[in-house]
């Protein structure tokens, strides 16, 4: 078994042993999205128009909320030292951790979001677009949040700081993710948005594992 698979399997198994941690995040997503119609009012046209932005923002917050434990648990129980001392690149370990996070957070959110979209009166195409953009975009969120989580290891006020670091960096993903869903409604441009969203995810994939690894190394010093 390669170290990458071993780490991925370990993290998934840990989540499997405590499924509540994931359910809380998904429950947060559902509750947060339901709050918006209650605050804004039940007017269907307005809700359908802002649905993409709201659902994307809620998914972003839900993903970030679950990230502060991503490396913190390993940092606190000493398992991070074992990753730092594993005889294979730490960049791959960072990637495995973020992939595990995406599987248990980004993927369920992408599946769940279209159902929440129904409450906002999104069209069938809009619902499909929402699920698809979250599927393509959430890996970038896991990686960006993973970097913020690695940077704030052992910091005071970790959770809020993590959000402050990650949110500005998530703006491009948010713009093109929500933009793609809106493009379906307003006609045209969906594929362009989706392509740029994919490019953003690839850019994160190409750069952030190195940054996360650097952050983890300096946390281990």
């Amino acid at each position: 078994m390669s170290g990458f698979t071993a780490l991925l399997a370990r993290d998934l198994r840990l989540v499997w042993r405590r499924p509540g941690d994931v359910m809380v995040v998904l429950a947060f997503f559902v509750v947060a999205t339901v709050l918006f119609p209650l605050g804004i009012g039940p007017e269907t046209n307005l809700l359908a128009r802002i649905a993409a932005g709201i659902l994307w923002c809620a998914a972003l917050f839900a993903a970030l909320l679950s990230l502060d434990r991503l490396f913190a648990a390993d940092y606190e129980d000493g398992a991070l030292d074992l990753l730092l001392l594993a005889p294979w690149p730490l960049e791959l370990a960072a990637l495995a951790k973020c992939l595990a996070h995406w599987i248990v957070t980004g993927l369920p959110l992408a599946v769940l979001a279209p159902f929440m979209g129904l409450l906002f009166g999104l069209s069938g195409e809009g619902l499909a677009a929402l699920g698809l953009t979250l599927l393509v975009g959430t890996p970038a969120l896991s990686l960006i949040g993973g970097l913020a989580a690695a940077l704030t290891l052992g910091a005071r006020r970790g959770g809020a700081l993590l959000a402050l670091l990650a949110l500005p960096l998530c703006v491009p993903t948010l713009i093109f993710g929500a933009g793609a869903v809106e493009a379906v409604a307003t006609g045209g441009g969906f594929l362009t948005h989706l392509a740029i969203l994919g490019a953003l995810a690839l850019l994160s994939l190409a750069t952030l594992p190195w940054a996360i690894a650097a952050a983890l190394r300096q946390a281990g010093e």
Binding site: A155, T207, A215
Partner: protein
Amino acid sequence: MASLHVLANPARFRRFSQKVLPVLSGATALVLAVGLYLALVESPPDYQQGETVRIMFIHVPSAWLAMAGYALLAGLGAALLVWRHPLAALMARAAAPVGAVFAAVCLLTGSLWGRPMWGTYWVWDARLTSMLLLFFLYLGHIALSRAYDDAERGDRAAAILALVGVINLPVIKFSVDWWNTLHQPASVMKLGGPSIHPAILTPLMVMAAALLLLFVVLVMVRTETEIDRRRLDAAERAQ
């Protein structure tokens, strides 16, 4: 000995800055006086914007310096991570709040300018929105560098953040421009757009030079303070 050389750097900087700072401060005051005279008295009011055009003489250089300041943070971050240059950490710590203040000045003057021009203090103009996000990046850098009991950890974490941030800035800028053209047709007049009249260009450049000098002076003074503070910490811990 390597460690001696490493320690000598902040000390050498201090000797250098103590010689240079008085001259630089004087130059800053002089250029700032000339610039303000040119900007507030000499230059004509704009035929369209009236007297409010003078806000630009602060607003535009502040925007430049805020962006240059973040590039400086990234450069200092690289110097710290690659060469473990201790002065780079102290200078980044000193420069980040200065850059953030310039970004804030840019945002404030932008909204003051917007009140008479747009009839509102804030519009989601592409440039202003990008500047707002840059301001948030500064806030993250400042908060992260000060979030650790071990100051050196904060320095290195913030250095990594600055490098990631500087790679992301063009992406953020591109995204915001895209978002802006999509949601707002380009009817809003751009603040500090390319159509600058020559009569305005001279005071603008002088003001830019003055504010650049101010930036340098502030960063140098603050770096001296950081050096002293780090020394005090080290002395305290040695006891």
